[in-house]
């Protein structure tokens, strides 16, 4: 590479005695996009957190434009021209868009007071750059996930950084927003910035990157120009073995017995006239665009939100404004989309997390929990789901990679032996191999007589896994497809509505 901006030399890192990164050396060039790929836990985020100043490396060194670089904080990294757009949003919902963008660099007027007019003006021009048509004074809490993600990107633009890191930026973007983001990344490249782009979506990497680096188990296994690394080769390098299929074979095991039945369920402003039934052993896919009401429906089924019309029966029992506790008692489990905030206690041990929904069962007559039994029982599930970690009784959940965290959430619910599983985007943000394992778990659940409601925005995934697909659009069911009717075009048309063109 002719013009290196950032060079990383033999960087290594240990966590809790486990090596997560060892001897990684990379060069990032001016005006180039580096695609960084690897399985969850391969060390991508750790490496980028070191570059971004959130973590310090144990070994090795870095240089920016030939000068030594070892940031002690995110602030220092920013000063050296490194901007990091995190996968998890770092926005303050109680502040305006403008305040979020300039929170540590507000324009000041006389007396050190914030120059609000200037703040608005600068924000408006940044928002125009990412084509976000919003007032700078809008509170972030009013924004959709996609809009928030773009505000996060805007924050990085404001720094006018030379090195811009994107960590899985498209997870909550609509296709339209994704297109906008990619155009922006290309503009950054043309402006001579160095871009590091982390993603599990290899098609995006192929589309965007000039160079590709593949990490596996904390080591750099390949680094070269993209042209030499087609997606198939990236997958092989990431896994360290050949993968012949993305989905396990589908086998329908649905029985006629109905476990859950919804009749004309409605909640004003959210869902309308939703009717369906779920059979024992069935995998029922829910497809739709973001905001189509799938998550909202799942929350209602699980008793987290109420419905104001219609009827819901679980195991034949009518449920009226039930609670989540009631839903759990009726044998339901809900694996949420947002595992960091809703599904896991990050600082508690893996074992405690797994046992959380089964504590009653683990308590003796006096209500006291036997810690050893807890770790043992949790251990069975950790092994069954192949959760890769240190001692499960001592390792905190936050030290796990995304895929393993998701497995802990699933293990938690498996342990409570539910019969109806609600899975909301269970494979979002996790790598190919972990996805395959989760698909296998879903099939095992169905085979053992549980029913699964599988919400997903990836059409290939739903088509490969479901016995039947219900499509939602604007809070209503806009299409139903049995397996023999699965056609991509028809399903997408139902999701978009007839009048719009299918992407």
């Amino acid at each position: 590479m002719t013009d290196t901006v950032l060079s990383i030399r033999d960087v290594g890192k240990n966590f809790f005695g486990v090596t997560v990164l060892s001897n990684v050396s990379l060069d990032v060039g001016r005006g180039r996009v580096l695609g960084l790929v690897g399985q969850n836990g391969a060390g991508k985020s750790t490496l980028m957190n070191i570059v971004g100043g959130n973590l310090r490396s144990d070994t090795g060194s870095m240089e920016i434009d030939g000068a030594p670089y070892s940031p002690a904080s995110a602030r220092e990294a920013e000063h050296r021209g490194v901007a990091f757009i995190h996968q998890e949003l770092n926005l303050f919902s109680n502040l305006s868009i403008a305040e979020n963008i300039f929170i540590s660099a507000m324009p000041r007027g006389p007396g050190g007071l914030v120059d609000r007019r200037e703040l608005r003006r600068r924000t408006a021009s940044l928002l125009a750059e990412v084509e976000l048509d919003l007032s700078p004074d809008t509170l972030v809490e009013r924004l959709s996930p996609g809009e928030r993600q773009l505000v996060e990107v805007t924050k990085a633009l404001q720094l006018d950084a030379n090195i811009v890191i994107f960590d899985e930026p498209t997870t909550s973007l609509t296709p339209r927003e994704t297109t906008k983001l990619f155009a922006l990344i290309r503009r950054l490249r043309e402006a001579g910035k160095a871009v590091i782009y982390i993603s599990h979506i290899l098609a995006d990497i192929e589309n965007l990157a000039d160079d590709v680096a593949v990490l596996r188990d904390g080591r750099l296994v390949e680094f070269g120009v993209r042209a030499d690394l087609p997606a198939a080769r990236m997958i092989n390098l990431m896994l360290g073995r050949d993968i012949d299929q993305l989905y396990p074979p589908h086998k329908s095991v649905a029985e006629p017995a109905v476990l859950l039945e919804a009749r004309a369920l409605s909640l004003r402003g959210v869902i309308k006239d939703v009717s369906f039934s779920l059979q024992r052993g069935e995998v029922l896919g829910f497809f739709g665009l973001m905001g189509a009401g799938r998550t909202e429906l799942a929350r209602i089924l699980f008793g987290l939100d109420r419905f104001d019309q219609g009827e819901l029966r679980i195991n034949g029992q009518p449920m009226r404004n039930h609670s989540a506790e009631g839903a759990i008692r009726a044998g339901m489990a809900f694996i949420t989309e947002n595992r960091r905030e809703e599904g896991l206690m990050m600082n508690a041990s893996i074992a405690e997390n797994i046992a959380l929904a089964s504590l009653t069962e683990l308590s003796n007559l006096a209500g006291v929990i036997d810690g050893r039994t807890l770790v043992e029982r949790a251990g069975d599930f950790a092994t069954k789901l192949q959760i890769k970690s240190g001692a499960i009784g001592a390792t905190p959940a936050r030290s796990l990679s995304g895929g393993n965290q998701q497995k802990v959430v699933i293990a938690k619910w498996l342990m409570s032996r539910p019969v109806i599983f609600l899975l909301d985007e269970p494979t979002r943000g996790i790598d190919v191999a972990a996805k395959y394992e989760i698909y296998s778990i879903i099939n095992d659940l169905a085979a053992s007589g549980s029913s699964v409601i599988f919400i997903s925005s990836e059409i290939e995934e739903v088509m490969a896994m479901a016995d039947r697909i219900l499509v939602m659009r604007q809070g209503e069911i806009s299409g139903e497809f049995t397996r023999d009717q699965f056609r991509k075009e028809g399903i997408l048309r139902a999701a978009f509505g007839e009048q719009e063109k299918v992407a």
Partner: protein, 349 residues
Amino acid sequence: MIRASLTGLLLRYTTALIFIAVLLYFGAQAPNFLGPESLANIVKQASFTGVIAIGMTFVLLTAGIDLSVGSNMYLSAMATSAILSNPAMQNAPGVTVAILAGLATGVVFGAVNAFCVVVLRITPFLVTLATMVVGRGLGTAFTESLGIEIPDIFAKFGSWSLFRAPDASMGNPALDYLVALSAALTALPTLTFALVVVCAYIVLSRTQFGRQIYAIGNDAEAARKAGINVDRVLFAAYVICGLGAAIGGVTLISLIGRLNQTFGVGREFNVITAAVLGGTSLFGGVGTALGAVVGSTLVQAVQSGMTFIKVNPYLQPMVMAAVIFMAIFIDALRTSRLEKLRRRMLRAD
């Protein structure tokens, strides 16, 4: 839709509604409660709690808490009174030194809290619970639990006012109210409070530091990642809270004229209640300086009202406790309800 927005409205203006209810209730029980002298007294007395509630707001906004403000105001007032009890200091320069010493004591007290929270990383609740006890103990040991008389040269400040109300009625009720309230509003403690409110309002809403306080209260981890020097901002918040307590303590003894061992005991509860009633959330990130003004006036109105209708003094703390409970309950309710009301509508029906 209409019902939902009505609930939202009710929750948004709960404090105002409680305020009206309190005035009507006590007014009905004891008409004098609504008289000019009583209202003037409420305004003036509220400034002491209010000034401390402003400082507390800074800490609460960061999702922290400071239980030690009562002890802090005791120690700060003591520094001022100890200096003034020396006859050589009973002159203008001496008074200045005494006031500055009192304020400095509050700042140091706040810095100790800040050090424990920021550097030693101990939970604010525990830190300030400990410094509350230690501060009170130190002061008691130092004074051997005796009271200190405040010399007149300083004590006169507390009752100084730009406009003085004549003792006799003017004959016209409207005029009586006008005179009494303008005297109360231009009294030195009230003016001090007003100055503090204006400064705090500007700092919180118009400076980067102020906005960063809101950011930290919203998500400390994200604040760190956004490049905010979280430790420095937190430190400053506790120091500001300490300064507020000192201002409250020093102005209050100038009114009372004597420093007792029980000075400031339990004040932290009134202060936190005032802040929360003013809309500041114990969960951080939500609250304003103006809220502290409203909250402290309300707390003071309840306290005066109880004296007016002669509630058994032993029961008064229980009534205050009920108010505190209500304030915190409303805070929790408001947080969860407002969240629900903000739920995104997917359909237009």
